[in-house]
Amino acid sequence: MNNKVHKPKAKSYQLTVGWLYPELMSTYGDRGNIIVLQKRCEWRGINVKILPINQVTNNQQLKTIDLLFGGGAQDREQEIVINDLYKKKKAIKDLIERDLPALFVCGAPQLMGKYYEPAVGKRIEGLGIFDMVSKHPGINKPRLIGNIVAETLIIPGGVKLSHPWGDINRHIRIVGFENHGGRTYLGKDAKPFAKVIKGFGNNGEDGTEGVVYKNAIGCYFHGPLLPKNPVIADYLIKTALKVKYKTKVNLELLDDSLEQKAQNAILKKLKIYNE
């Protein structure tokens, strides 16, 4: 292990961000997550390439990915997506097993679990990356909709950040919006990503939100997630650099005062105040 601390210089680092089906899975402003990842790299002189993953992407291209992102899809689009995802199952699983950072939001985590049972129609087998199942309780059952606040839980072996807000591993607050019909239940091998403070989370029952396996994060937070939660964005970037360059890279600090204001506005709206 190289202990030298590298400061990223212009063009010295390059990350490829894989974006699952941008045309099919971009229902809730998910593009915002990609924009934030890209800009937060570029402001630090890290070059970014966005690789849209779709029906024509081959496994060789998938191997070049350093960070993987997937967003939400409408039901009909979800069907098209999953049929293509089966063909990429092994390649994607390999990436996750290699400790690659990944973020799956809204509908995407449902496809990465063991299965998803829609309100109508038959059960959809997932890729089985996360030990969890998702079920829609029926067309007449209410969707879980609203602003949501949660506190992150420890990610075993996760990288440390020097962001002034703190670290994912130090229970930082995240804010977002959720809108999902499906309820997700974690299996015994799965760890939740966060603990719900206000809102529904995975199923509105057990107070868990999202799921973590290795460096892959699944969650119901859109809004999108990353603009108001820059710590998560930096965590993913730093992890990607660590995995790719096998060295510790300190990310330069960015001015996140506007992000802080946007986050505080949600906390205030939900009557949660910083102690």
């Binding site: 229902t27 800009k39 909709i145 001015d255 005062s257």
Partner: protein
């Protein structure tokens, strides 16, 4: 009984207004429907009024006003529900406030409505419910875009509900559809397909054959299209019949364009090729509203000259490109309530050469509580605006959206002192104000006499802006 309910409703309206409790526009209808849930159906069936229903995500209010203007200029009398009062109670209230009790009492007829036409704007989700109660003479479906997913749900779901509701319509309804919107056009193409497949004349239901003559399409000429690339906010890039990715030869905006499916052969229906020279409002999206209104008026029997005449001096509906003078400065409001309407407003303002923007983002029920859609908007060349002010309940979310757009145009920015740090500084061209009054004043500060401040508000923000500018509450 309906006459008694109408009387009661009128009395309530009078009370609301004289006690200054607002105009209480939907209460009389609400109460009438509580007592007789088929109030609307019964009142309408006893009258000879022709009914025009208009639904779609964007353009309802402007198109209604265009049709109304055309009808009134040709001497017809028209009743219309207030924009925003587009659920059942709003329609019942419209009937109550426009009914003529005197003539009923004097002549003993059951006909409460003496007008020639009723134009009703209908909420996308409510259309199926309304069609249970109203059998329209004309049903105009404008478009389907992603809007308020927390309230309306997915575009596909709405399209499916519309399909089921339309199948139940009787022969008298003329269906007027947007040829350029795949999901909307498919509502008409579907019934074509059914009757073409059934060759045996005995098997053709009178329903499906009749429908073919009663389906009309409007759209733009491909020469009017601006793009050839599907925009990010497009919602219906896939074949509504077989699910294959659609091919677009040309695109107007979002997913409106000249489309076809390679796999199943479904394609944009033919529209009569005719040019129209009178487009009273700028913006490609308004060309659709004009073509839709024009087709309805032609079917009703107006001539081209009559229609052009009527459209020539058209005044925009409130908040839809409405121009207001305030403190001796020019302001124009472009209601921007979802990614497509925002993109179209933004693009039109750029075409008009605007350089002063005020963006107001609220997240109340009429706006949709989920504001993630702002990340689906296209803000290209935002740095060309001289002065940008942001306000609304979610002012900082909108500021963040702009922060990342500004930076997007500077690929190499030194870290730490990157330029958007100026956002909070007073010399920046982007300023944020939680208070809307202050935001408007700031927007006007650097405005020259011949310049315009362009305001892009969400729905509730638009009402707030108008209240400040005109001193009056509208809804």
């Amino acid at each position: 009984m309906n006459i008694a309910l109408t009387l009661l409703g009128k009395l309530l309206s009078f009370l609301f207004q004289s006690l200054n409790l607002g105009n209480g526009s939907t209460w009389p209808g609400h109460i009438a429907l509580k007592i007789n849930k088929h109030f609307i159906r019964e009142v309408l069936s006893n009258s000879n009024i022709k009914i025009i229903l208009i639904a779609g995500t964007n353009g309802k209010t402007t198109t209604s006003k265009l049709i109304r203007t055309g009808l009134e200029k040709s001497g017809k009398t028209v009743i219309q529900n207030q924009s925003g009062a587009n659920l059942l109670n709003g329609i019942a209230s419209t009937l109550i406030s426009n009914s003529n009790i005197n003539s009923v009492i004097l002549s003993g007829t059951k006909n409460l409505l003496k007008q020639d036409f009723a134009i009703f704007e209908i909420d996308e989700n409510t259309l199926p419910l309304i069609l249970n109660e109203i059998n329209p003479d004309y049903l105009l479906l404008l478009n389907l875009f992603r809007d308020q997913l927390d309230r309306y749900g997915e575009v596909n779901t709405i399209a499916n509900n519309w399909k089921n509701a339309i199948e139940k319509l009787s022969q008298k309804t003329k269906l007027i559809l947007n040829a350029d919107d795949p999901q909307v056009a498919y509502l008409g193409l579907q019934s074509n397909v059914i009757s073409n497949e059934v060759r045996d004349p005995q098997k053709i239901s009178p329903h499906s054959t009749r429908r073919n003559d009663n389906i009309l399409y409007f759209g733009l000429q491909t020469s009017q299209f601006s793009n050839n690339k599907l925009q990010h906010a497009a919602d219906s890039g896939y074949c509504p019949k077989c699910g294959e990715k659609l091919i677009f030869n040309a695109i107007a905006f979002s997913h409106l364009g000249d489309w076809h499916c390679k796999k199943c052969g479904l394609k944009r229906p033919e529209i009569k090729s005719e040019k129209f020279s009178i487009y009273p409002l700028p913006g490609l999206y308004n060309k659709y509203n004009v073509m839709a209104a024009k087709l309805v008026l032609k079917i009703i029997g107006l001539t081209d000259e009559q229609i052009e005449d009527a459209f020539e001096n058209f005044e925009p509906a409130f908040g839809r490109q409405e121009i207001i003078k305030y403190k001796n400065k020019n302001i124009q409001i472009f209601l921007s309530k979802n990614p497509t309407s925002f993109n179209q407003s933004y693009q039109t303002i750029q075409e008009l050469g605007g350089s002063h923007l005020l963006l107001v983002l609220n997240d109340r029920i009429p706006d949709g509580r989920d504001i993630s859609w702002i990340w689906d908007t296209d803000l290209s060349e935002i740095n060309k605006f001289r002065n940008i002010v942001i306000s609304g309940d979610r002012v900082y979310d909108m500021a963040l959206r702009l922060k990342y757009e500004f930076e997007g145009q500077k690929p190499k920015v030194k870290s730490q002192n990157y330029t958007f740090a100026r956002l909070s500084a007073s010399n920046s061209k982007v300023k944020t104000y939680e208070d809307l009054n202050e935001a408007i004043d700031e927007g006007l500060k650097s405005l020259d006499e011949n310049e315009t401040l362009f305001i892009l508000p969400t729905y509730s923000a638009m009402l707030e802006v108008r209240k400040i500018l005109t001193g009056k509450k509208i809804l």
